[in-house]
Symmetry: C2
Subunit: 395 residues, 2 copies
Amino acid sequence: MSISDRVRKSMEVGSWIRRMFEEGVVLKQQYGDENVFDLSLGNPIMEPPAEFHEELRRLAERPEPGLHRYMENAGYVETRVAVAAYLSRESGIALRNDDIIMTCGAAGALNVVLKTILNLEDEVIIFAPYFPEFINYIENHGGIARTLPTDEEFIPRLDALETAIGPRTKAVLINSPNNPSGAVYNKAFLKSLGDLLTEKGRELGNPIFLISDEAYRKLTYDGLECPWVWSCYQQSIVIASYSKDLAVPGERIGYVVAHPGLEKHDELVAGFVHCNRILGFVNASAIMQHLVQHLQGVSISVSEYQRKRDFLYKNLTDMGYKAFKPQGAFYLFPKSPLEDDIAFVNQLRQWHTLTVPGQSFGSPGYIRISYCTDDRTLEGSLTSFEKAARKFNLL
Amino acid sequence: MSISDRVRKSMEVGSWIRRMFEEGVVLKQQYGDENVFDLSLGNPIMEPPAEFHEELRRLAERPEPGLHRYMENAGYVETRVAVAAYLSRESGIALRNDDIIMTCGAAGALNVVLKTILNLEDEVIIFAPYFPEFINYIENHGGIARTLPTDEEFIPRLDALETAIGPRTKAVLINSPNNPSGAVYNKAFLKSLGDLLTEKGRELGNPIFLISDEAYRKLTYDGLECPWVWSCYQQSIVIASYSKDLAVPGERIGYVVAHPGLEKHDELVAGFVHCNRILGFVNASAIMQHLVQHLQGVSISVSEYQRKRDFLYKNLTDMGYKAFKPQGAFYLFPKSPLEDDIAFVNQLRQWHTLTVPGQSFGSPGYIRISYCTDDRTLEGSLTSFEKAARKFNLL
């Protein structure tokens, strides 16, 4: 007795990151917070924008009756109307509130979608490097995660995808801006991906869903815009979150967008709403739904993250590290100077800098550095990176 | 393609309540809100206590840095310390923060626990009438719900339980105060249940979990106290929620309590924390965790609900309805005057009163009336109940 076999297996697989986290806690106790440089977690250091605080104060000062009650399982209509109007304006695709389901963050949204569509042993294709939770989410609902490679700029390889798609393929799950690589997929790529999925779906007599996790959509750099999948593929489901835009990851608010052109759109949306309920989310927090209704388009300043990216990228590449320059999100994913990325991460840790090995993301030989941290931590970590660069002959 | 077979089946089973809800919406549009008496939903009409509003104002006026960030996957330590201290004081059992995991309401808590413990096709025993979502929650994680009967006062039949427990029995799930019956299990019953589970667990060489859903713990009447399971059975897991106590069901905050004496306690808690994360909840909302830290023991006034219960119970029994007098929660579960409870519910609906048939709760021949509604609705519904009493010869 105790925990189930599946959960035990999932805990063992995830244990490396947890061990790192725990050893970080020990390091901080031993050497003091200020002498440990934790670049392992994606927990944004920024505070929510002023508009968020104002709205919260407004709600708190004049509590309306019923503000904290249950609402429709899809979320408040007025919130979904506001989201649909904002997205329609931004994307040029006409969306209605019936295309939007408010969820417990992007993680809740993904679980709701996967629960709704997956029969046992259906396959969902993901691309390495991937957000490791994708595998848990897929397996939660009896699905099988199939991992395919990306090219040297971390763009999914469509030739590999073409070969891999088969009768059990239910969905392809992409994430752009990407955690951990920082890649942003351009419109031409999305169009080719959409065309391939259309062709393959026709061939197999069953449309393939494209699930597009856009939790980092607002975090793109150098004026780059993250293109919309809607004009590229009709059978698409977008996953969104306010965690990064508003710097409120602890509040668990995001949403699903069902493309209006989805086959059996209404049945699918009814399924999402049902699964939102039965998975135990019920809804996203009522107060947060009220807040975001009035915060469409509001976002933290991206320039801060861009400055941090530039600082880290320049310093590391000057030391001889090979890295793709992130176009979005807040991670750098450089090559590990050692083939064994775990050994390299352990070496950095001995010098009090915490990172995550690439093999946690399906890409051994890399490490992930999170730069959504304060400048002191970023600056302090450079000593370890420089020591490592000398030791492993990069400099 | 579209939704999965399992979700389709679950939607069909649940469709009766949804249809009722939707027909209620149509009725309200046709006849006006004030002429439709909706007793179908358990969405409390009460407002949160003043202390809740004060705490929210305090947080909104002086936003502390990091207030909305990710926290540990078990929830904030300071919140869990406060919960453990409160429960220890109330129950006399020494609990530590390591026994508490903050969750997305009781629904989130139940899904986390079931995901953690269930291997495929493990059985969870529930008792009719039951909260219908229990079946969805169990099946979400590959478990099998096995339903056993209760006696005429809605207390689980231990003789039936003794026969039903077998090698695949992983857990027994109880709910007291009970939705929909209003029964509160007394200490003697819990002790006998605990003894039976101890004996059976020993016999089978594997402890059986007792999962105690106590979402309505604070809502008991006539001075009755809801006893604690901890002194009755060590292998117990308590599910709690602030939804009813603080009248904030839309905010999704509750917790799991792992009995300190649980076999493999720490592994189990690590499993809960892991599943809290991978199911997509991640945590309960950060702001709500901060709030409840300072609201331990605060609760809405039960006397309001007791008054509504007394009003409804007296009026309906005076009309000749047979009903168990609820000891807690906010539902009345009278016998349907027609054997076919759906036909009776349909009859009431024609007179603009909305209730739910007992067969949705596994108990045909009953109906559920929710009285967590305003007095006008309760009073207005009496005409329909009286018409029905005359038509079906109760009066």
